[in-house]
Amino acid sequence: MPGFPFPGRPGGEHDEPLLDMIIARRALPPDAPAVMHDLARMLAALAGPAEPGELTGEAAVRAAFRRAASPAGVSSTARRPVRRRRSRHARGSVRSRAWLATAMVAAVAGLGSVLAAYTDVLPSPIQQLAHVAVAAPAPPSISTQQPVMLGTGRRSASHKARPPSSPPALQPRRSPTTAPASDPTPTASRRPRRRPLPSSSPGHRTPGPACSAAPSGPMQCTGLTWQTVQPTPDPYVP
């Protein structure tokens, strides 16, 4: 009788490595107990190939597979290309619909922009661009009541569009006690004072705020004193 340890006995765990080898289907060492070798053979036989009668259900299973893989009237080999064609067509139609939707959105946005330009609801710089691009009405010039800070690209809401003309250039002189209307960027305070943008030729308007100027005489505006100066070339517009 080999010294085969029974479960639950103290010290019976020394066969665990051999049992792990049996579980892993590894070859046992030659000096392993004979009962271990027999156990391994028994279990290996159970994991062996099919015996007579164990594959009798194959025909029925294959028939079920054929039915599942081939719907009525379509062969199994023909089904795969149809599925691929359908998916490619589906993908193509989805892509074309996406492009069509994008084009429609872009067209609506463009039309809306043009309409907004013609109704003068856009900000001044954009309105100026629209004026150049699609001949929309020019942005309104500043009114006599509100100053315009050159170089900031901003204007007050009370500005109205002025017809293109060649008035004398105006240079606002800032009083020491008057703060600028707006300073959107930290570097604006370091910029030198800029001359207003003159209309050097009829119909020519450069981007940026424009000053309304009277043909003669000083202009009155809040916080600033205007004086008439000679026309100067277009200043640098950042």
């Binding site: 279990l43 290996a44 299973v61």
Partner: protein, 200 residues
């Protein structure tokens, strides 16, 4: 004796899978509708599946058929290697066995005893094959005599070759408990075999 039959056939102790390294290709072909590839999968797993089901249910052939029907339905959506495929298939088999047990409880049936099965093998020209079949079936019956939990874990972990984690998932235990139970079950099986005169 039966023990001699077991020791006579070392060639049958080939536990290499039928498909092996080509499993991925075979599976992909089967998923694409290739019947021959599917038949390879069937022949690779069916013997072990049937033996496992004979341990846990008396309706092994019927449950095996239901299992493969479920596999056919779910095959296109399956993703994984050979181990995952086996784990998936044996999970389905266990569920179908449980379902069969519930329906059987409503219509009781009398299963054949192991000795009656052995007596049916009477073809003299297939003596060798019959003896081989007897030996395998005898081992199955020996394992069936173990507690249900031990028998199932031996079949899944050792015979089917599933990983401890997969077995744990199937039977509802932790991998550590599966390992401990497998060791206990193997020791008990060796003891039974020794008492039956199979081993030295």
């Amino acid at each position: 004796m039966v023990g001699d039959r077991l020791r006579r056939g070392p060639g049958r102790a080939d536990t290499r899978p039928v498909i092996g390294a080509a499993f991925s290709i075979t599976l992909a072909s089967a998923q694409g509708g290739d019947e021959i590839a599917f038949a390879c999968l069937f022949r690779d797993v069916q013997p072990v599946l049937l033996r496992y089901l004979r341990v846990i249910t008396p309706d092994a052939e019927d449950v095996a058929g239901d299992t493969w029907l479920q596999v056919v339905k779910g095959l296109p959506g399956f993703r994984g290697g050979e181990e995952a495929f086996r784990a998936w298939l044996f999970t389905i088999a266990r569920h179908r066995a449980v379902d069969a047990g519930r329906s059987r409880s409503r219509r009781p049936d009398v299963p054949l005893a192991a000795t009656e099965v052995l007596e049916q093998q009477t073809a003299p020209d297939a003596a060798e094959a019959a003896l081989e079949a007897i030996s395998t079936r005898w081992v199955v019956e020996l394992i069936r005599s173990l507690p249900r939990e031990h028998a199932e874990i031996i079949m899944l972990r050792v015979v089917a070759g599933l990983e401890a984690a997969d077995v744990a998932r199937i039977v509802g235990k932790t991998p550590g408990a599966v390992r401990v139970t497998a060791h206990r079950a193997l020791r008990r099986l060796a003891e039974l075999a020794e008492r039956a005169g199979v081993t030295h």
